[in-house]
Amino acid sequence: MTNALQPSEFEVQDIMINMGPQHPATHGVFRMVLQVDGEIVKDLIPHIGYMHRGAEKLSETMDFRQGIGFMDRTEYLAQFNAELGYVMAVEKLMDIEVPERAQWIRMILCELNRLSSHFMFTGAFGTDAGVFGTSFTYAFRWREEILDLFEEITGDRLMYAYFRPGGLAWEVTDNFEARVRQVLELSKQGIKDIDGLVTNNEIFKARTQGVGVLTKEQAIDWGTTGPVLRASGVQMDIRRDEPYLFYDQVEFDIPIGQNGDVYDRWCLRMEEMRQSVRIVEQCLTKLQPGPIQPERMPRMLRTPPGEVYIRTEAPRGEFGIYMVSKGGNRPHRLKVRSSCFANLQSLRDMSIGQYVADAVLALGSMDIVLCEVDR
């Protein structure tokens, strides 16, 4: 300790704080290293990969029916949306026409899934902001109703594996429409509850307005999609721009944020939930009895050689499936274009110069699913 009194010893140093992989605010096993000067974040290094299970590679060893289940496990909060991408890719490769009823039911389930996923976001984000569990229980109560409905239809609460190339695995329950209407009513109540508890709360506004701002240019440069991109003021919604299913036959509004901050992302998701309710209500009026699988489906799914990219608007952004087939009953290569992976990269831009507490909010406002990021 000869140089203990050297001037350099007295220089102010930033400290590094390691947040995660086991930290209550990192939503799974995400790790970020914060370089902080007091409370101000000077730099932020995100580390991902703790949840990597090689889902894409594993999918190459599974045939097209087994692969559907893997999509559930990739995106475990928007399972139907993930399955949809996969089965649409297979359908496009095999050139299968999907019956109308199956399409409408897929649309209803995907939108309900968006609702349940956004409910999850509201709950988890409230906890990040420090509402001690109340927003969580509020949101989960209504999410639970949606999951109950999914369980009735598919037999599973989380890992549905219900969509099949060509249509659906089996017909929905007899009281499907009545149950969906009931769930919608409950969801409306839930949206109102959460709005009342959080959205107009003064402290919540003070904490989130002007925090974690991502400009339009930054949002585009990082390749963000979904609510994060729209909150920054970019009008992009794949449901509108490249309609799949029957999104071109229903009316809905696309909320576009004007400030690009955390509060906008919150308000945007609340609005999307209302729009999802609206979409499902329209779908229900158009639902007709009919087949849910094409007349002639091969027993064994075999695709001709080719490659295909499918984009869908999942709750967290663009969920893309790039599938290469060399013939046979399994994909030669499957690439999942993860929405969260791209969104997560913008975290550094959102957080630098802000407080530590704001970095937590910025992370929460992206609504990441680490399983999807790492795959």
Partner: protein
């Protein structure tokens, strides 16, 4: 000095200390149960149900678990400071109980400077927090401890100022006398603004939401507590709930009329105790309610709220009180003036908060699907 049954002073003091510690421990256990149950109701849950009838023994089970748990000390921790820290939080908190009156003639010691004393001892525990944060050799703990210091110092001042304002009106620093002075009208009527400030500062002093910044779960994962376990952690916990109870009792005594209003003098001891407990319970209930419904503030917002709003307003309140009281107006007139000025202060604080938060800002646009892209 009056001692119990004419015992020697030292023995008498020992007995009183024992009474404080045992009563407080039981009260804290009750409080934890109540908080868990009430919070559960706010959150549409049931709360503890399995331990004993209606989960009544949950706190006992928790306490047993905590006592039986291994007391871990990190290798890099500073052993003495680490192990002493819980005591420095625990002891000052319990010292505050000495002057809090339960009934008109029922406090451990009836000090003439009781209000001053309780504010003094309740701010000592911050030393324990800093020790805990420093000794743990953990960055979360350090960050939490520094936040705790900043917060505690900032909110100590408005708290003291609010108390001075009400002491001016009550014309005493003896808590028992302040209580007796409210036999007709509780102080909150004359001094609503100091009560509001007391409540806010109380939340901040106790690190309760929305001011739980030093221990924020989603940021610093428990702050100074993060390396503590077992019995030492439970001492922090005990101190936290004990200070909540003491602060609630203090608020009930100084602002809500304590055991004196209404009819405390006439209806005797049981009614007085009931009054105290009910009023303290009301404050505790609101504290829990706040916890269930508010997000956490950020550290800079917390600081500016204290220094830019609460402190100037509390000075203004003291000056106004002094101006009104110095002229020796008739009781009704001076107190009406006090009430009006203080209520105006409340309105001012509310509007200032409102103005700082609800700035007009564009809401998200709604673009219909059918509209052409871009």
């Amino acid at each position: 000095m009056n001692t119990l049954f004419g015992l020697p002073v030292a023995l008498d003091a020992l007995i009183r200390v024992l009474i404080i510690v045992s009563v407080m421990t039981v009260v804290v256990m009750g409080l934890i149960y109540v908080e868990r149950k009430v919070l559960a109701r706010f959150q549409q849950r049931l709360g503890p149900t399995r331990t004993g009838p209606m989960g009544l023994l949950q706190s006992v089970a928790d306490a047993l678990k905590l006592v039986a748990k291994e007391d871990v000390r990190p290798t890099n921790a500073d052993p003495w400071v680490f192990e002493l820290a819980p005591f420095l939080v625990f002891v000052p908190t319990f010292l505050g109980f000495v002057v809090v009156p339960f009934a008109l003639a029922w406090s451990v010691r009836d000090l003439d400077l009781g209000l001053f004393y309780i504010l003094a001892v309740s701010s000592v525990n911050i030393v324990g927090w800093v020790m805990a944060g420093w000794a743990s050799d953990n960055r979360y703990a350090m960050l939490g401890a520094l936040r705790a210091v900043a917060q505690s110092i900032s909110y100590e001042l408005p708290l003291v100022m609010a108390m001075i304002a009400v002491a001016m009106v009550a014309d005493s620093l003896n808590i028992s006398e302040i209580v007796r002075g409210q036999a007709m009208v509780p102080n909150i009527v004359w001094q609503p603004l100091p009560f509001l400030m007391f409540f806010i500062c109380m939340l901040a002093e106790m690190n309760r939401p929305p001011f739980d910044i030093p221990v924020g779960e989603s940021e610093v994962v428990g702050g100074p507590y993060v390396e503590y376990s077992g019995i030492r952690w439970s001492m922090f916990f005990l101190a936290e709930y004990a200070s909540m109870f003491i602060m609630a009792l203090l608020g009930a005594a100084v602002f809500l009329g304590g055991s004196a209003w209404p009819f405390g003098e006439q209806l005797g001891l049981p009614w007085q105790i009931l009054l105290t407990v009910a009023k303290a319970g009301l404050i505790i209930f609101v504290v829990i309610w706040t916890r269930a419904s508010f997000p956490r503030l950020r550290i800079d917002q917390l600081m500016s709220f204290s220094w830019k709003l609460l402190l100037p307003v509390s000075f203004a309140q003291i000056m106004v009180n002094g101006l009104i009281l110095v002229y020796d107006l008739p009781y009704g007139m001076s107190h009406t003036l006090l009430a009006v000025c203080s209520a105006a202060g409340v309105l001012f604080v509310a509007s200032a908060i409102n103005r700082s938060v609800t700035s007009p800002r564009p809401r998200p646009l709604l673009i219909p699907r059918s509209e052409a892209a871009r």
